[in-house]
């Protein structure tokens, strides 16, 4: 445990000294997971809202599929994207394997179902009370969806937080399609794996704590920022 202390110390030093390699890794982690979460939101919030607002035959099966995909194993997502992007695969021409783009793609596969599923439940919880009022007040379909989303914001916020958490913590997919290449696709989690493999648990733990600290700041920003924006509304 003293080594933990000393490796914590050396990491703090690294951070303060502005060590380029560490910053590069942190930055890429953030870029990839924020990009994946953003794309996941663009896909998942509309789809989840639809699923929450409307009933249709076979809806329950779709719900079960979404729930299942929420538990898509990262490695599986990685293998799927690998096979797609592999030089001989259908999208091989794009030469995207072992690039950050590939990592984002694999993570989009992971987070979109999470955002969809949780948005669906959040919207469902508010739809009864607000959809009819919105429609009656002359909201178009889109406007009505937007109003319901606004009422369900706490739940959708939780969806985003959950998705971001999965993206930034995930390693199976980014390792496989990113390759953990230094200066190119190495992120926090793949670094942690690398250190663990070498038996440097203390360093791995320290990097993990740095990752958590960053998540903490981002979540704080999200919660406080959104709180401020929605001051007038309900609390988180």
């Amino acid at each position: 445990m003293e080594t933990l202390y000393s490796s914590m110390l050396s990491i703090v030093k690294l951070i303060l000294s502005g060590d380029k390699a560490l910053y590069e890794i942190i930055l890429l982690s953030l870029k990839v997971s924020i990009a994946a979460t953003t794309i996941g939101m663009l896909l998942g919030i509309p789809f989840g809202t639809l699923m929450g607002m409307y009933r249709f035959p076979g809806r329950q099966v779709v719900v079960i599929i979404i729930y299942t995909l929420m538990g898509l194993p990262p490695v599986l997502a990685g293998v799927i994207i690998y096979l797609l992007l592999s030089a001989k695969g259908p999208l091989g021409e794009l030469q995207l394997l072992f690039t950050p783009t590939a990592m984002v793609t694999a993570q989009v596969l992971l987070v979109t179902p999470i955002i969809t599923g949780l948005t669906m439940v959040a919207v469902r919880g508010k739809e009864k009370l607000y959809l009819e009022t919105a429609v009656s007040m002359g909201a178009s379909r889109l406007q009505a969806a937007w109003l319901v989303i606004r009422e369900a914001k706490a739940g959708i916020m939780a969806a985003i937080v959950t998705a971001f958490g999965r993206a930034i913590a995930e390693v199976g997919a980014v390792m496989l399609v990113g390759g953990n290449i230094e200066h190119v696709t190495r992120v926090m989690t793949t670094s942690i794996i690398l250190e663990t493999r070498k038996g440097n648990f203390d360093l791995a733990l320290s990097l993990g704590l740095v990752l958590l600290a960053i998540s903490f700041m981002i979540n704080g920003f999200l919660v406080a920022g959104v709180l401020k924006y929605l001051q007038r509304g309900e609390q988180y």
């Binding site: 030089a87 072992f98 390759g179 953990n180 290449i181 190119v184 690398l194 493999r197 038996g199």
Partner: protein, 257 residues
Amino acid sequence: YTAAAPKKPAIESEVTLATTTSTQDSGLLDVMIPAFEKKFKNKVKVKVVAVGTGQAIQLGKDSNADVLLVHARKSEDEFVAQGYGIKACDVMYNQFLLVGPKDDPAKAAAAKNAVEAFTKIAEAKAKFVSRGDDSGTHKKEKSIWDKSTIKPQGSWYISAGQGMGETLRMAEEMGAYTLVDEATFLTNKTNQVILFKGDKDLINPYGMIQVKSTRKKVAANELIWFFISPQGQKMIGDFGKNKFGKSIFVPDFKWRK
């Protein structure tokens, strides 16, 4: 083989090297790759992808890597025979070590050769952690068991299905024996001790192969050339002397037939 063509085509800006985790974890590539890149004024970038042996070879078959640096001789030969690879060569070797707890319950240290050491462990039913992942190391281990005619099974024989570093650490945690390559053993600090080494059965040869279908023909060629050049071979031989007081890999370049 000579690369002395009159007009050299321009070198590609990047090349992907698929290798095993033990190679990367040894730190050798952290010395070799920057030197290689510097030689080309950093105009070419080597992307090192460190994965399981089988995965590295599969990356080559899928044309997702340009050069392989692995240690699984049989799979390498197959790879070349199936027409996936060219320019296969030996680059270096080190040795496998049988390591275990200090008190050596199976008295493996007293064995005359690897097969005997393994036999003693099996007879004592002392714990043995196998990588169990079809890697070069695992295949080597299996070949020794084959020679001993023992079929290892039972609760003493633990098939971990993990990489070398993880397997070594599991053996340490469990007070068990394991077969480990010298590079991984030296770079992982454990309290295991070397109980047996030096047998000719325990040689661990590393090979380099260019993927035939590579789009980075020039850079791939240059990368292999760098490893087998006198400068590269010397760097390999010198690597580790500072840190461990001895070299980790023995350079032994030769083309394979």
